[in-house]
Symmetry: D2
């Protein structure tokens, strides 16, 4: 069954998104392991850093005592040797959090470590719940207090309440899964167990690995974290599955909740790292496939195909390969521009683009250029890139976008700018073409988007392009539902 929104929130959306993604990680070390779980988590979070740069954290469990360290900032900023050394134990979970609009909040950093009537617990969560407000309201009616605005606190409360009426933490997780609705991949650490669970639709990725040399069991949002630790990929966590590691043994529990799978297609287009394999499909390959479909759907005669670094590159290579037009490097990215670049008084955005990306004159001068990127948001950035390429002497510029324009809000982890800021909002593709100043403009079709993940063992959620949701969604998007800014 498919669901449509009854009432469009604000206005339909399209264009680029600012994504509220996260990455999760968990490791269970066998007795006598030579490594510390905090160091392993630290390394893994580096490999997952692309999934979230706002905040990060690690919780370790040492003989039942949980110790958690987290803060706003990159993994590199938040952890130092001394902190890692102080975090001994046999299990760890970790989390990286994406930068959304507004100022980064320490309160929303994860893992969330708490005590409850049966002991203590730490949870790391990737995804968004559709009924978080409802759950929250319910807890509050019973006297519950909330210290953050994140869905995760409601999720933890639900697990803890279920724990009161179930014999084990894993049973509580299964019961909680019957109440929480939405997208979630979670890693839970109790004094003796490490648990991973994935929502019944498998909307967010989550996989399991094992390291041959010491028998460590590892959970991670993406397989690239396994590679970083020298572990082997075992399998993806199944939609609706709960995996428990206890006394070094791995058990699988079927929550019994099953829905048609609805994996997020944007993981392949933009979020995930190209060297990851998600639900059986290679991300790099999916991006090259997107380039191939783009070429099929929007062919053009040209002299060179260039990609906008970094995420446009694989689709550009795919387009080039399939079209036979040579692939070239047309834009150079400055790797040193961080978040804190100080703008002079005037023409800020223009300079910022010019500093971040520079055209390679020799590659485009006098040529008909196909430029591939993964999305268009306000159109200003892409417009300046087009100008850069034209100023460098390109005769023609043909823009190809390796995703469909997305027009509907995501309730499962994507934070989209207000529609009135989006170029695609009130413009046809032809109007957009004119505004950004290109000779032709082509988006990937929704059909193609559903086919790029070659070999994937699941069906996809394309609601952001189509407005057809895999579950009932709220009638309106409440952004700041709680009148409190918690910015410790």
């Amino acid at each position: 069954m498919k669901y449509k929104m009854k009432k469009l929130p604000r206005t339909p959306f399209d264009g680029d998104a600012v994504h509220e993604e996260c990455g999760v990680f968990g490791i269970y070390l066998p007795e006598g392991a030579a490594v510390s779980p905090a160091h392993e988590a630290y390394t893994a979070l580096f490999a997952l850093q692309h999934r979230g740069q706002e905040a990060c954290g690690i919780a370790v469990c040492n003989k039942g005592v949980i110790r958690c360290h987290k803060d706003v900032g990159l993994v590199n900023d938040v952890f130092d040797e001394k902190t890692l050394e102080s975090m001994q134990g046999n299990m760890a979970i970790g989390h990286v959090r994406y930068s959304t609009t507004g100022q980064p909040s320490r309160e929303n950093a994860q893992p969330l470590a708490i005590t409850h009537v049966k002991g203590n617990l730490a949870v790391a969560h990737n995804g968004n719940l559709v009924n978080a407000s409802e759950l929250r309201r319910k807890m509050e009616m019973g006297g519950g207090i909330f210290r953050s605005t994140s869905d995760t606190e409601a999720l933890v409360y639900t697990i803890v309440r279920k724990r009161l009426i179930t014999p084990s933490i894993e049973a509580a997780v299964v019961e909680a899964m019957k109440e929480i609705i939405g997208a979630y991949s979670i890693v839970v650490m109790s004094p003796r167990k490490l648990i991973a669970a994935r929502d019944p639709r498998g909307m967010r990725p989550l996989c399991m690995g094992k390291r041959a040399e010491d028998g460590a069991v590892i959970f991670a949002s993406e397989s690239c974290a396994l590679d970083a630790l020298g572990a082997e990929f075992v399998r993806d966590i199944e939609p609706g599955e709960v995996v428990v590691v206890e006394d070094g043994n791995v058990r699988s529990i079927d929550s019994g909740i099953h829905e048609k799978t609805a994996a997020c297609v944007f993981e392949y287009i933009y979020f995930a790292r190209p060297d990851s394999v998600i639900d059986g499909a290679s991300v790099e390959e999916a991006r090259q496939e997107a380039g191939r479909y783009l070429c099929e759907e929007h062919p053009v005669e040209a002299d060179v195909v260039i990609g906008v670094p970094d995420s446009g590159i694989p689709a550009a290579i795919g387009y080039a390969k399939y079209s036979g037009i040579p692939y070239g490097v047309g834009l150079i990215k400055n790797r040193y521009i961080g978040r804190t670049f100080i703008q002079p008084g005037q023409d800020k955005r223009e300079r910022s683009v010019r500093l971040k990306l520079n055209a390679l004159r020799r590659a485009v001068e006098g040529k008909r250029v196909v430029m591939v990127d993964d999305s268009i948001v306000r159109g200003t950035t892409v417009g300046r890139l087009v100008k850069l390429i034209r100023d460098a002497g390109a005769k023609e510029v043909h823009m190809r976008i390796s995703a469909p324009p997305f027009r509907y809000p995501c309730f499962f982890g994507t934070d989209i700018p207000d529609s009135d800021q989006l170029l695609a909002h009130n413009h046809t593709v032809e109007e957009m073409r004119e505004i950004i100043g290109v000779d032709s403009l082509g988006f990937l079709s929704v059909e193609a988007a559903n086919k790029i993940a070659v070999g994937a063992r699941c069906t996809f959620c394309d609601a952001c392009f189509t407005g057809v949701y895999p579950m009932p969604v709220p009638e309106s998007v409440e952004k700041n539902m709680f009148e409190m800014e918690l910015s410790e």
Copy 2:
């Protein structure tokens, strides 16, 4: 009625204490005030900084939206201009927290800002609850989760649960006061109200002030914070009283809970700033009185009276005045030694003392010296000071301590080292005298300690000296009752 512990926790205590004190603050600005509440709180926390150097925080309320900033560190470290500027509004509360053993935890920093079913709330708390574990357990049984190990979270939970069955936040505070047992001075901020409350025994100080120039209403742990803001002292909050500021009007509510007052005598001896007036008694005067009683109880023939800076100075002046022996400056304190002094490999503590305090040879050479300090913990520091003074040529050293030796644990806000680390544990006064190497040693009597706060309108708690508690206390001291270190 007085209570005694049925079972002595670990072992009886005596000697110096590491105190788990805090300072609280609140301000309500009338409409159109020219100042920002965050700046006022910042200034006030500077004046209260001596009550806690581990962590601090400020929460402001702007049209119902609460914004909170807190962290480990001194006021100076935690706040900068930009942060203060971003905290506009008409109310603020603030908190400074003392450094206890273990590594400072951000989770335990205050104010605690939360959302609940009726809106949001911020609370700052000074004191310790005797039944925090019990309250906590009760909440947990209903599915409550805890993110810190502080009593304050249990206190806030209690208020929030009472709010479900009462018509207002102040009524909820009154109801909560019927359940929480112990020492507490709290400041509560809801979207429209600022509330101050003090436990029925008045164990911790809390006063109210008003600023003539703009009508601001102010609550603070000590009157010195009112002075810093140019406000006038109005009165102390009464034991068991709840004061509400709403729409600029101040209302007093009698909680109806009344007990025999039991103000902490250590506030006068050590905690509070000498320029504060608490419950009608001047702290400086109380310390000089302690010196006077010391002289009465332990007179000696000598040539000079010196104090150990800073807290031993007033008692030394009192001793000198009453005895007629000249007061002199015998020890100079280095004002630049902070917490982070890097010790060389050897003789660390000895050097540390020598660097912190230096003897003034001319003041003590060839003289019989009375040296006054406020407490003895392990005895090592005082032993080194005695050596310093003797090395500088003192003929005799007579040590006088401006408090009784304390022998029992405090359940109301004092964290005492394990008894086996305390010099007084298994030693008589005469043995102590010998160990620290002085010619005579005298402590203040318990009777005198109860009389030093001249003009105070209350009776005192002297349980740490006598073991007679003003309320039933737990049978054992559970230190790390929750197996979780929350050190975000």
Copy 3:
């Protein structure tokens, strides 16, 4: 004429180098310019950051007063808004400095700002002098003192001494150029003039640009800095040329010193940014050319060509294009690994490589792979990369290096590890092939290296490959010639 070293310093060198490169910048703003020179320098240094990450600095001139700010760290770390705002004026020069072995020294940061008998001066310098020791000795014999170990201080001393006997600062620069020997591109700022000069062999790059919108005159090590400021490339500074900007007018002075040009070929192979054009040749194009020549000289039958990010990519693309073997992405670089990655106790280097670069299994599995990189130093890193690719299923691995093995020390700005640490030191190419575990190994020929810079208007220095130097060089390499570490 060519020169050979009479005595080989230590041992002949080969393998990868740690380069002691720098970047310089200067800007002269016309009266009434809307921008601040410090902000412009800041932006330009971001574009030049790849030339040096150890330290950076900016000096501005405001009505004859020079103000300088510099420190160890990236541009982003060293400058904040407040500092930039405090640096007003009409001229600025800037510098970025490479990280060499040893701990970064603030004393060696540039620009070097000094006062002398005729006023003040600031200098930024890229390159190495062959006779710095000699010049230094000469100054010291006259009572001169040195506060750093950099060549730049000797250079500045020389200019200042010449200033005593010449009528202008530009004349002093010309006279100094007659005494200093080596590689240098310098930017000099006096109270009223901005001067750029390049050594007679043009060993280090230096170009000039102009911004149409406001007439600003700009000097920079690479053209990419001009692009970042929205300025147009005017021309390279000629070898032996001195360019003076005064009262907004640009004058060229021929120093009269001319030698056969000897531009550093490593700028094209490794140092420079691919989007820069140096002495008429595109860097990106040169790298692709290197790939083309590699293919010509070391062809192989294979299924895919991959590059080691980032600097191996263009040569890989060139190899692919010329050979007809498809180009693929086989290694993914983690962009978040900075310098401060904390290693766990064991297998540090191995993990570090695995975290920095990950193989893309789908791209190489079952394939014969050509892997292109720009150099081999110790061979350990490349060995682990080969293992990564093999573990990912590659059937064959053919390594191609886009530079000749270099075997001789560079006296003009390249700091090479001790030869005994270099794989190529005592090994033939065949032995190296075996050690790093590849099926074939090919280096670019010296002849080809001299041809890759297509369109360049100069001849090159290839001394590091051949031992044939463009000028007499010292008989021995004195590393720590001054027994002082100046690490303020």
Copy 4:
């Protein structure tokens, strides 16, 4: 012979001064010492921190290699464990620098470490040269360059030039002393020697100590640094003396330059730490003497004598003792207010005073108060203090200043605000009394100021009070003689 200024610089001065003082230190460890010289210097600089809070630094010598670390900030900020650990050796010198107006400059931080023709050298200097400009000019005429605006660079240049024509570094120091004119206490470290020297008038303090336990030889500005290291005071360095430590042996050299001693009387009144003994006189005792003379010269009937913390306290104690009026604590200083207190928009200075110092009502209410401070600058601070005391209920306030009003510029290390900012500039004592709002006002007489240092073996410089200088002084005060701000 005495000298008067021919032309008054700007205008005559009086009132409080912002002093440009410094502290110096040196240590020579015998072979096999168990401690590191950097740790010892670090400890000593803590003890000397009151002499300078702007910047500090340490240079160590390890087998002839000098390593220097310095920066703006307190000792605590500039040094961490890692830095100290990296500074091994057998000698160290150290320096603390006072905060003057303008932004603190890293370039002017000391020690100054340089290389010259005979090797390397590090110098720490306290004092001011009268002929620094002249010396500087001379060096510049020979091609010298300067990287700072401090006298110290000229001093070092002079030593280095003398070294060219003398057989040893100590001989060079002696020869340099014949050229440099002014106040200086210096510590010089060459690869094998540690040298201390004091100007022929002994204007700045410098003493020598020895540690019994390991034979370390120590030089320091004040004896309190010897105490901090557990060393014994040996003697003051004589005016015009040069002391050399070489191979563990101490030699004294008489420079042959002798003048009438002119020790700075302000060391006793304000600069030095009370526990130091300088030239045979105790600083604390001198301050109490100042109080005694004040009482003699300006007696008054009163009920209590209070001091303005910290420097006014000893004089108040002296006044009380001699007059028989009880000494009391009337003002409490907040120890947590550092430099970075963020002021709200309005009434900044007033609040700042109120926050820094608070009146103790009980001590002054209804009383006639004698308030003792060490100086009056603009009169605003003292005016607010008087208001504080009056607001606290004082019936009368009698101000006593423990120094004469100073009316002439100091050329030997005191930086005085412009005279138009000084209260005393155009006002008589009676007018000043009225402005600051006291019942009576009395300054110490010049005669008394010359007598306070009981037991001192020297005569004093009182030029700042009298305009009679111990040597010819420049005709005008050139403040920013070099048009360069060197603020790296």
